[in-house]
Symmetry: C2
Subunit: 458 residues, 2 copies
C-alpha cells in the first residue's frame, strides 16, 4: 500500500495478530544478569522460584534462548476481546505542531483496565489457573495493573488480592471499586496485614508507600498461603515477553504500509510497556538488520536510568525478593508522591538495564508539570485523555517533533500511549488549579539509598 | 464472507465509514408532529428557532424530506479519531449464558467522552463555529454529553458552558474535571445563576435536579448572551440525524458478513442512541424491505414510553422551550435519583414517539438493581465496564438470549453499548455494597404531572 493513504488508525485483522510472543533475550549477546538468591548470592534456580511464581512463568522467566513462545489459545481468545490495539497516525497533532515529522502512537488504553497491563495479566492468570492454584497476590501503583489482574482473575475464576500503594489508593478512590466489581480484594500498602508492612510502618510512619513496599507485602502473603502465588506487572522478563505483543502488532502495522520509524519512545517505570513496545525493533537492532533511536522516558522524581546505578539490588523495599542487576536508585528510595503512580519504582527491568548499559537505547527524564502540559495539549488535539504515565512519552514525542520543525527533518516518530487518565482526575485537577509542583530528589537523597545496596555488589 | 468466520470485532475501513447521515423522517409516512411555539400554539418557524439554535441545525431540525445529508469534511476528519466504532460479537457472553442466540453489540464507548454523544457534539460545534458564534450552552445529565461537547468545543476553539444535573454533579466529581481539562465551565443545576434556576430552587428546595431543569437554565443563558446558542444532546431530530452514524456503521458491518438481526435493542432516555442505532433498520421496516423486532429499554424510575402519555409538552421544567409532541411523564415530573443520569428525562424524541405510537417498535422498562446485575455480569465476561445507561440494553439483551436458550431459537440480537462506566463508580459501589434500591413512581405521581400538560392538547 502506498504511504500517502495511511489511515488515521491502522487496525490489524485477527489473522495478523501475533500467535507467539517474542523473547528479546534470545537475540541479546550480553544476556541480562541472572536473579540471585539474597541468602546465598547464587543464581536462583527454578526450584527456588517456584514457591513464589507459577511454574510455567518461572520457565519463561529463565528462558534466554527461545526466540518465540506460542501464545496459548485461551489467552489469544481473551486478547480478541480488546486486541488488536490501533496504531494511530496523529495527523491532528502534527498539524497543530506544524511539524514535518510523522507521529504515530500505539494506543493500549481501549480496555477497561485502561492500559497495556492486561496483556500480561491474562497470561499470568492463565498459567496460575492451569497449575490449579486458588489465587494470586500482587501490588499495584496507579491501579492499572491491579485492575487488569482483577479482570483476568475474574475471567478464570481465581481469587485476587491486591496491595495498592497508599498514595494511589487515596488519589484514586474509584480504582478500588472497579477492582471490587471484578471480585478482587484491595488493601492500601503499607498495611498492618503483613509482617513487612508492620515493619515499614514502624520505621516510616505516615509514608505514602511505594511499589517496593507493596511488592514485599504481596510476596509475603503469597508465600504464606497455600495455593497462592505472587504475580508482578512489570520488571520481570516474563512480563516483557507477554508485552511483546504491543511491539509485534506495531511492527506488523508499520510494515503493512512500508513505514520505518526513526525514533521509538516509551515511558519507563519498571519497563513493561517500553520493553514490549520496542521488542521486535530492538531485535532487529541487535541482529544488525536495522537501526532505530530508542528513548526511555522516566519521571524526574524517580530517575532510575538517568541517575541510578547499574548494580544488584532488591526489587522490593522489604528486601525479601530476589536480587536483580538493574539500574536502581536503591530499594530504600521512596520517590516523592508524584501523579504517575505506575512509574514510581526504584529499579528497572534487567533486560532493559542491560540494553541501556550496552548503549542500545537512550534515556531521559521529564518533570511532571511539563508532562501534564503535554497531556492536556494531547487530550485537546487528539481527543484522548492520556494517563500521566503515558504522557511522559507524549512530552518527549512532542519535543522531538518540534525539533524536526526547526531542522525541517521528516522523521517518523512512534510512541507508546499506554493508557487513559480517567482515574487520574485528582492529578488533572491539581494541574488545572495550578497547584502541581515538581519534586526532584537531591544527589544526597539518591546517594543515601544507593549506599545501602546489598553487599553482593562488593 | 462466510458466517462461520465472524471475528470478535468487526471494524470497517475508513472508506466504509458513512459519508452522509440518514434522515429517518424522510421515510416516515406519519411525520413526527411539528414543534409548537408555546405562546401562539402554532408550528415554530426557522426564524423563531434561530435565536436558540444555530442556523444549519435549525434547517436539519425542520428537514423532513431529504433522506441523506452529507457529513462535512471537518466532521468526518474528527470522526476518524475515534470511529469506526467496533461491532462486537459477544462470543464470551453467549458461551457463559449457554444460549443458541448470536449476540452483537455496537460499542460507542472507546473515546474520552465515554459514549456515543461525541457523534452529535462535534457536528453541533462545527455548525456553531461555521456561523461565527463565540460559544454554546448546554445541559448534561450523566456528564457524557457535557464531556463530549467540551471536547468538540475545544477542537473548534469555542466557549462551552455546561449546566449539570445536581445529582450527577455530586455523584461524579471527576466529570467536572474532564470538562475543565477541555476548557469548559460547569455549573450544578438548578443554580442561582439563572432566573429559572432561582425559581425552581424556590419551589423545590433541596431538589437533585433533572435534565428538564438544566435545559431551562442553559437555554436562558444562550438567549441572553449575544454570540451564544443552545445545543442539546438528545431528543431533537438533528441529534438523531447525527447519531444515525451508529446504525449506518452497524448495518454496513452486518451486511459485510450477511447477518440479518432479529432483535435490535437500545436504551432510551431522550432517544439519541436508540434513534441512531435503529435508523437504517427502521428505514427498511418503514419501506417494507425488511422486518425487525426493535425494543426501547427505559428505567422503571422514568418510564416515558411505557407509562407516559402521547401529547404536546414542554421539553424543559422551566417551560421556556418549544412544545414537542412526545411520550411524556409531564415536564414537572422529577424522577427519583437513580444512577442512569442519562435516562432521567421526562419526555422522548418526537420521531421515536411517533414510531412507537404507530406500532413500529416496542418498549419495556427495567429496574436498576437488575440493570446493575447485568452490568456486572457483562463486565466480568466481556471485559468492558458498561455505563449504567447502556446496561439497560444489556439487561434486555441477556433476557432475550435466555429466552432463546429455553426455546432453542438461534436469534440474532444486536444491542447498543453506548458507553463506559468509568465515572459511575459511586453507583457500582452502592451495588457492590448491597445498598442500591429501586424507586418506581406511583400512578398518582405520574397522573399529577401529566395533569399539568399544556392546554394546547385540549
Amino acid at each position: 500500500m502506498s504511504a500517502d493513504k495511511i489511515p488515521y488508525k491502522i487496525y490489524l485483522s485477527e489473522d495478523e495478530v501475533p500467535k507467539a510472543w517474542y523473547n528479546l533475550r534470545a537475540d541479546m549477546k550480553n544476556k541480562p544478569a541472572p536473579l540471585l538468591n539474597p541468602g546465598t548470592g547464587k543464581p536462583l534456580t527454578a526450584e527456588e522460584l517456584s514457591p513464589i511464581f507459577c511454574e510455567e512463568l518461572v520457565a519463561q522467566e529463565l528462558d534466554e534462548t527461545t526466540p518465540f513462545i506460542e501464545i496459548p489459545e485461551d489467552i489469544r481468545n481473551f486478547y480478541r476481546m480488546y486486541r488488536p490495539a490501533p496504531l494511530v497516525r496523529a495527523y491532528c497533532l502534527e498539524e497543530k505542531l506544524q511539524t514535518p515529522a510523522k507521529i504515530y502512537y500505539k494506543f493500549e488504553g481501549n480496555n477497561t483496565s485502561g492500559s497495556h497491563k492486561l496483556n500480561s495479566a491474562i497470561a499470568q492468570a492463565y498459567y496460575a489457573k492451569k497449575q490449579g492454584l486458588k489465587g494470586v497476590t500482587t501490588e499495584t501503583g496507579a491501579g492499572q495493573w491491579g485492575t487488569a489482574l482483577s479482570m483476568a482473575c475474574s475471567y478464570f475464576d481465581l481469587d485476587c488480592k491486591v496491595y495498592m500503594v497508599k498514595v494511589s489508593y487515596e488519589q484514586k478512590p474509584f480504582r478500588r471499586e472497579v477492582m471490587r466489581t471484578y471480585g478482587a480484594s484491595v488493601v492500601p500498602s503499607p498495611s498492618e496485614t503483613t509482617e513487612v508492612g508492620k515493619k515499614i510502618l514502624a520505621e516510616h510512619p505516615g509514608t505514602t508507600g511505594s511499589l517496593g513496599c507493596a511488592i514485599s507485602e504481596a510476596v509475603e502473603v503469597a508465600t504464606k498461603n497455600p495455593g497462592y502465588r505472587y504475580v508482578l506487572g512489570s520488571v520481570l522478563n516474563q512480563v516483557l515477553l507477554h508485552q511483546s505483543v504491543i511491539g509485534l502488532e506495531t511492527k506488523t502495522a508499520l510494515d503493512k504500509y512500508g513505514i520505518k520509524p526513526d525514533i521509538i519512545i516509551g515511558c519507563a517505570g519498571g519497563g513493561s510497556n517500553l520493553g514490549g513496545l520496542i521488542a521486535p525493533f530492538m531485535g532487529e537492532k541487535l541482529r544488525g538488520e536495522a537501526d532505530y533511536r530508542i528513548i526511555a522516558v522516566e519521571p524526574a522524581s524517580c530517575p532510575s536510568f538517568t541517575r541510578g546505578t547499574f548494580a544488584y539490588d532488591f526489587c522490593d523495599t522489604g528486601m525479601i525478593c530476589p536480587l536483580a542487576k538493574m539500574y536502581t536508585l536503591g530499594s530504600s528510595f521512596i520517590p516523592s508522591a508524584n501523579h504517575a503512580g505506575g512509574l514510581r519504582f526504584h529499579g528497572m527491568s534487567t533486560t532493559l538495564s542491560q540494553l541501556y548499559h550496552d548503549g542500545f537505547m537512550e534515556a531521559t527524564s521529564v518533570e511532571q508539570t511539563s508532562v501534564f502540559e503535554a497531556a492536556e495539549q494531547f487530550a485537546r488535539i487528539e481527543g484522548i485523555l492520556p494517563a500521566p504515565e503515558s504522557s511522559h512519552a507524549i512530552r518527549v514525542a512532542i519535543d522531538e517533533a518540534l525539533k524536526c520543525k526547526e531542522t525541517g527533518e521528516e522523521k517518523t516518530i512512534v510512541f507508546g500511549l499506554t493508557g487513559t487518565g480517567y482515574f487520574d482526575l485528582v492529578a488533572y485537577q491539581k494541574y488545572n488549579d495550578g497547584e502541581m509542583d515538581d519534586v526532584i530528589p537531591t544527589d544526597e537523597d539518591i546517594a543515601a539509598s544507593v549506599a545501602k545496596l546489598p553487599r553482593v555488589n562488593a
